[in-house]
Amino acid sequence: MQNKQTISLQNKISNSVKLSEFFAECAKEYEISTDIYNDLRLVIEETFVNIASYAFAQEDSHTVTVEAKRTPDKISITFTDDGIAFNPLTDPTGFKDTDDHCEGGMGIRIITSLTDYQEYNRIGKTNVFTVTKYYTKPDNTLK
């Protein structure tokens, strides 16, 4: 079993489909539970869409690299890109925690709620964002 898998995608929101397919393969390989898979699939979608939407000037073509790494106790997903300095946990549209859920910020709440740890670093001209979820031995392994 490989404990680290990587995919590189162009910064188009539509590529979240390829990313989802990539993670489904990782989930099978890593034998993670369906619950953790569902959580991380959603986190990955929200994070990638946020990066593709806000880390680059429009029309610019860039690459976002996503690494899924499994260790005995956790799974970490790292997003790396060469866009402008952008932390996916900041909402450029301005988060308003009101009854009007159309105001944005929902993706960030999803990311932070469904993962145990999030870390953003600007390293040189690169954004590096990692989310981590602790692994438990599955009762209902993804088939």
Binding site: I13, S14, S16, V17, S20, N38, R41, L42, E45, E46, V49, D99, D100, H101, C102, M106, G107, R109, I110, S113, L114
Partner: protein, 124 residues
Amino acid sequence: MSLEIVITPEANNGKRILIEGSLDSNTSSNLQQSIDANINNSVKTTILDFEKLEFLSSAGLRVIFKVKKRMENNGGKFLMVNLQPQIIKVFEIIKAIDSMSIFKDQAELDAYLKVIQDKVIDGE
């Protein structure tokens, strides 16, 4: 994963929207277009049926809240039924459960609709 949308008429100027698959950043615009084409001001009740929905992201949530607001602004009702556990979890995370009319299954929804219909018949 794609999104299948089936819209059918319901009693008393209602519409049911059955969504199947994934409601996400790539498919939410399809749902928005279907709603814009089918849910006009004459529709008094919109039922969003989640029975076959496997995945919901914030992009899909935005479309759902938009149609909810549209229905309420027109004096109509927006009801949701048959939500799977992973979908309910998303609504819980964004703390929207209390503000939505959610029915666990068709029987619960039917009971609610019957009460509404009886009130109309009684002229309340």
